[in-house]
Amino acid sequence: MNSKTLLLGAAAAFMLSPVAAMAERGSSGHLNIIYWQAPSTLNPYLSGGTKEVESASLVLESFARFDDTGTMVPWLAADIPTVENGGVSEDLTQITWTIADGITWSDGTPLTAADAVFTWEYCTHPEGGCAQASYFDGVESVVAVDDMTVQINFNAPKPFPYTAFVGSESPIIQAAQFAECLGARAPECTDANFGPIGTGPFVVTDFRPNDVIEFEANQNFRYPDRPYFATVTFKGGGDAAAAARSVLETGEFDYAWNLQIDPTILAQMEAQGNGTVVTAFGTSVERLHLNQTNPDPALGDLRSTVEGGPHPFLTDPIIGQAMSMAIDRALLVEVGYGAGGQPTCNVLPAPELYASTANDDCLVQDIAGANALLDEAGYVDTNGDGIREANGIPLSVLYQTSTNAVRQDTQALVKQWWSEIGIDAELRNIDASVFFGGDPASPDTFQKFYADVEMYTNNFAGVDPEAYMANWRCSEIPGPDTQWQGSNIQRFCMEEYDALVDEMATTADLQERGRLAREMNDMIIQSYSIIPLIHRGGVSAHANSLEGIRMSDWDSELWNIMDWRRAE
């Protein structure tokens, strides 16, 4: 992160204050938010779900956050530590955060470095099962240098040290409140988990698990004029269409989250003029994974493992390329995603620095070209059944995904396009809780990948792709020896790729990191083991009377709720 953009980000954050300075705390009255999945707890360390993280972000805060452009802005910290300003050590093994002046918990006690140290201990306790433990990966120790200074020591150079205590997923919790809740005792602290004391703009007044949360403005908040809303109701439950209706049609709610519904229905609702649909794009990409190993049931336990041997035809990039060329991504967006999607040819579509432009040919559908490509490579239909063969094996694939209306529409369209290039697809859908469940005993998980092609969305949190790109190392391939744990779902393996991953782990220069990430992205895309389809954004809606919303997919959508206000 270079310091200039940081300063600009910080400046932008301060610029906002004078605009809103006329209003006072609580002057906008009551705010109604609906999340159709209801939060189960307000302790984001006990549940990694988006609904819990975002609802807790009204209360709990971290040292720095990401704004709507993905720029890091200091939040509880006085500034963002960098190598230039001495906040990050030269050898990249230490980062020092300084807490800004005058920050207190909502109970009036000051926020100190001890709270950050405690948060680290809480989340890294071996019996705790902390859902955000990966934010503290590589952290050797967190030390309170003095009351206002927190030093994080890493056990190896960390070129991107902004993980622990940055963003909505690793906020700082109060040591005094959670002191008795370490490890296995975490579930005993129901009152604390349901009503954490925070530094944020709101305090919890009532929490009903999986139903509703009531907040009121934090009277000890550091900005005397904010938040502008005096009280907030955070309702959960129902479904996405009903949530959209309650904002756009009946006007009962002011803000609705995650409205992945039929784009034409959403547009009709918006046309009623009560509210506005907003989107924000992060790093989510709906993609096809092409199994590089053989999923043939005849292999028994060796199905879809490296030991079982390579896939009979999907390891040839030509076939993958033809499959990619046959797809009309713009039509998929129109049918299933509307404003919430954009066609993409990259598995790493953002931030801008990391987005490659080398693969953009795929944006235009080219069935004739795909046919020519396959003909040229010698994959022709020899027995006249309309399906091409590769060395006598028909190009027939099992294409699986989770059960979801949009995904089934996409499957049907893709099947049609593939049939036009002589590739046959059998479609299958699996309940999401099973597909993503990761149960090693189930044959239907996406990790086991007992199919030729599978489709889902993945992304990474924050703005740094290092850990995400490391997903596709050879060593990350799932298999029976690792209980099918592993993130290299398509079983892609290339030594050159692993070398780039290692290089990125020791490179601090931002431009250089950008180049490495783009190169890795291109390597995967050009292997055609992943076919990216849609760059997916978050879709939300807010009432027209609500101002100040800067929706972000890099942090909690509610990250700047202190600036939200009711239009006069």
Binding site: C130, E188, A242, T250
Partner: protein
């Protein structure tokens, strides 16, 4: 009658144990994972740690007996402590903990019971109040236009699912007419006349959706039972004695016809506690049904198990009550 009741109650114990074990196996052996709903950004090692901390990886029988012990011993003690204030319960670690909220399942159930009893209970009463007159008149004037209309409406109510009627009601009354809210405000407290009106407005749609469904069912039973009795000899005798039609129908026929209907009503009472999964979800009422469906979706085994077990207890109990009631209402039936 007393020995019969006691015998039935004792028999209920092995039945319930068996039911609880079957439920546990179904829930446990179905491929569900409490970490499945988490974003894919959370790495597998962390998921494994979460599962470990929840105790998911212990042997199935250990988990079952642990649950059973908590259910039949610790939770009742906590209940007693909550009611009486005596300090009888062990440390709070030993309660059934939900995977989702990491809080005691019983607290979740207690928190949700009032909403379910209000919405589903009122809809049941409304259903009965509508159904009985319709059933009586339909039978008395069989094949009249009223009977035909009643039959049509009850067939409609019986066959159109609540997820359709619920959404239809919302579109008509909340979106187009704007009379009622589409989202149930579970924090609303009735303190005076105005807040009572607000409560009435938000409860009316779910109550009517469920009421229509209940009424259809009960009115058919009522009609059939009335028709059985109207042709009996004792009715002719009553008429021959010169009793008025009002007395014949409402006193003689109705009382006898109510016997099977009361049984049906009693047998359906556990469903009131069970909530209405779909209707509660459509109107965002935080009842037991919604608790169950969310728990199923997120692989929250302790919650699913406990809620299902409570249903099982209620069903066994109300079956017994229905049988006993039958004997009380109909002197011809004796169990001893």
């Amino acid at each position: 009658m007393l020995t019969y009741t006691i015998r039935r109650l004792l028999l209920a114990i092995p039945t319930l144990l068996f039911i609880s074990f079957i439920i546990f196996l179904i829930v446990k052996l179905s491929p569900s994972d409490p970490t499945a709903g988490l974003p894919l950004t959370i790495p597998p090692e962390v998921r494994e740690q979460i599962r470990e901390s929840l105790g998911v990886n212990q042997p199935v029988f250990v988990q079952y007996f642990r649950w059973l012990q908590l259910m039949v011993w610790n939770e009742p003690l906590h209940l007693i402590e909550g009611w009486t204030g005596w300090n009888v319960a062990p440390e709070s670690t030993t309660r059934i903990i939900s995977y989702q909220t990491r809080s005691p399942v019983m607290d979740l159930i207690m928190q949700r019971m009032p909403q379910t009893l209000w919405v589903v209970g009122i809809s049941y009463i409304v259903g009965i109040i509508i159904a009985l007159p319709i059933g009586i008149i339909s039978a008395y004037r069989q094949y009249s236009w009223f009977d035909q209309l009643g039959t049509f409406i009850s067939m409609l109510g019986f066959s159109v699912p609540t997820f359709f009627t619920g959404v239809l009601f919302i579109v008509i009354f909340a979106v187009n007419l704007g009379w009622f809210p589409s989202v149930y405000d579970t924090t609303h407290v009735v303190t005076d006349w105005d807040s009572f009106i607000v409560q009435l407005k938000q409860i009316i749609m779910p109550v009517m959706v469920l009421g229509l469904f209940n009424a259809s069912q009960i009115s058919r039973f009522m009609r059939a039972s009335m028709l059985d009795n109207l042709n009996q000899d004792y009715v002719r005798t009553a008429r021959a004695k010169g009793l008025t039609e009002k007395v014949v129908v409402l006193v003689h026929v109705l009382r006898n016809s109510l016997i099977p209907v009361v049984t049906v009503i009693a047998l359906n009472v556990p469903a009131v506690f069970g909530g209405a999964i779909i209707t509660e979800q459509v109107f965002k009422v935080n009842g037991i049904g919604q608790l169950l469906i969310i728990a199923i979706q997120s692989g929250d085994v302790p919650t699913v198990q406990t809620v299902s077990f409570i249903f099982a207890v209620l069903i066994v109990l109300f079956n017994l009550i229905a049988d006993v009631l039958y004997g009380v209402l109909d002197p011809r039936i004796r169990y001893d």
